[in-house]
Symmetry: C4
Subunit: 252 residues, 4 copies
């Protein structure tokens, strides 16, 4: 068995598509954001990615149907001002460093095959405390992109993230740069303690502005309110010692 | 040395055989069940599977004879209503995730070579407490199979197993699905604390019904009684704090 | 770089040589025994084995000269009743299970190239307590060999070693069996707490009998006496709780 | 993706260049020394080395620009008495033993391609206490080199480093020896507790003497003074229990 097996169910014709990655990470911000996009854009799955670098495991749904753990590729056409999108989601990132490199390299190959001109990786930036209004921090492969992002409200803050960007959200930028594909990481601030729909909302708002999309956020807002209620109750029960900001790196 | 070396001692002619897997896992339910089948069906070993993914170890028998740790393939012809079987047993599963994928992929190749049309993987479902009458839970690659299993007494219960199925019992379903081989995992309930012949008995009863086999269970019943006696005595000595059900995943 | 690089400095012509392995393990019994043989037989190094599976490390001798960590192959001609020997020694075994398999498989290839007809792997059998007169336990690839070993004083004891034989001393038997090379593991009893010349002495005595060699053991006896003195002193200082026998497996 | 991808931006013509390695290690002595050389010699980057054996990570600079973690190759021409240099620096060494071997083997290939005749690997030698005047210890591939080093003030001390040399600083010597490239490891004494510019200074002084270079050391001296001030203050606050010398190995 090859290390990675990508099975295409369709070979969509896409015009200069933008690739958006949202895999599990800090606060699952990127995963939540990308999955919300899938729903709102009625995106179509066109490929499954299976790999030895994922856990040797199947998930079982409520009916008893199994699914080998995987990553999935979706497309959405004519989004916002006419842009085509490829969206990468999944339950896992690679289990080892080598696996992470191979999986991201495989995605870059897919990106090149479909003529991807820009990559956005979505993630959370763990700050170790509850955030009322999360900022969206950025990192990118070149200066022009950084300027463009700033105009759209992305913040670039000296020393943040100090520990770099780990995982697919980082590697797709690093490998993209080698292959000449402009790439941006959008990191929504999050405590890092919970799955964080508020961070995901902040990321999508910025991405919607960049891509000129109109995305309904009511689902995420509802989830954010539920999380707020739970954490408020938890706060009443116990006043925790807040871990220091520097304890929390970014994983992507 | 290749990663996996399968040595065939015979190339049996089998008609649409069913593959049954019973490797070590929770309560060794699957291993016990498959080994009981081997005995009762006078199955014939036709292949050894050696692999770098197993421990670098030989076992030594009572006479001093060594055996490199392996997995083994047996066949049994004209079972039940005329069905041929391939049975996979062994002392170990792969030590790493990559190893698990490669070993299961290798089994699927063997399955395809012999024209296997259906796979049953046997395992235990750890529930963290002693079970009087273990249920047999199921998971499968498609809905028709689920219906067929329900008719044979297999239970499909929402949220069970919540954590999915890990190891060969899961991968053979996941990879089988990719290659179009219908596959079912039969999980006998077990505490997960002991090697559990009672869970194995429950699994075989169901499998015998499915395959229309007549299997003598007295050996397993005897072993189950011995375990019952031991655990009863242990209970008298100490009243343990039962771990919570959610602490115990399924590994297969 | 290939995983294993074997550099031959000479291609000796050997007649049906016997391969003897003594790599680090429990009590370093096998290593001590094999190195003692090298000295006593004036064996000649004919190959270095370097590998990614060893630690990424050089050793530095007293003059400041470095050596990449390795395994080494020596030969000795016309030993005992006219037998040629190949002796495998080294500072390390492979760091991973895969590495162990690849390294042992590589040795089997060398063995086949030189027409090796018999393999003896030397090791320690940890019993968790000080032993006055260590037995030499055996395990082998076939029954004839077991009989032959018994005649030479090797003991075969039901349930020993219960946990099998791990590492090169096991794999060379397991892989040898696959390739039809008769192989024996000779395990000298040892506490497992110290480097144990007494265990090594016991192993060499048996091996000398088998191969009809006359080996001076005074060096090992001297070392054994030194260790005895140290352990006697330690016993005076503290009366330790002896670990139970079943806590100690065999690694070889 | 290949395991290691070396991207050359220039193919400089170099005459019998000397390769100098300074990757992270004990006290970052080698890294500091090599980076100081880069600055003082206005060395030119001619290659990036990316690898699956590095962490799956990008660094982010103060402007928000990312860089995939890597090793880098620089050259400097006509240094000292007319010598050309290749200098290897980077943020990481390989994460696994196999990775370390592959990365060092790749460097040796580059060295052979450019006709490198001598390798100096720079590192720290951790002694577990503050050192007023650090010695520079050596290890080398042959006796002539050791004599040459002694004449330049490198110390060769029996039993130091007792645990050998781990990582690139060791492997480049070990693999260099196999390929017939003379190689020396220069180890500046360091406590091992801090990034240690004083150890780096000592190493550069020796290297400058060997290569007849005139290197300004004021930057490193300044940094060393800053570290001295910090450690003096720390000493006032707490009188730590000094770990024993034997607790600290050398990693290079």
């Amino acid at each position: 068995m090859e290390s990675i097996r990508t099975i295409f169910y369709e070979e969509p014709e896409l015009k200069d598509p933008v690739l958006i990655e949202g895999l599990p990470g800090v606060g699952n911000v990127g995963k939540l954001a990308a999955e919300h996009l899938l729903d709102q854009l009625d995106a179509v799955k066109f490929a499954d990615i299976f790999s030895k670098h994922f856990p040797p495991q199947v998930t079982v749904d409520d009916d008893g149907l199994i699914k080998l753990v995987n990553n999935e590729l979706y497309y959405a056409k004519d989004v916002g001002s006419g842009q085509d999108l490829i969206i990468l989601v999944g339950d896992y990132q690679g289990l080892t460093p080598e696996g992470q490199y191979e999986l991201s390299d495989n995605i870059i190959e897919v990106a090149r095959k479909f003529g991807v001109k820009r990559i956005y990786t979505l993630g959370g930036y763990g700050v170790g405390k509850m955030i009322e209004t999360p900022r969206v921090l950025g990192a990118a492969t070149d200066e022009e992109l950084i300027e463009e992002m700033k105009e759209n409200g992305v913040e670039f803050s000296k020393g943040e993230p100090g520990s770099g960007i780990v995982g697919a959200s980082g590697l797709l930028l690093g490998l993209g740069k080698i292959y000449g594909i402009g790439a941006v990481c959008l990191m929504g601030e999050t405590s890092g303690y919970f799955v964080d729909p508020k961070g995901a909302e902040a990321v999508i708002k910025i991405l919607a502005k960049i891509l000129d999309m109109d995305i309904d956020l009511s689902d995420l807002e509802e989830k954010a309110e539920q999380i707020d209620m739970i954490t408020s109750k938890l706060k009443e029960i116990e006043a925790p010692n807040e871990p220091k900001r520097e304890d929390l790196g970014y994983i992507g």
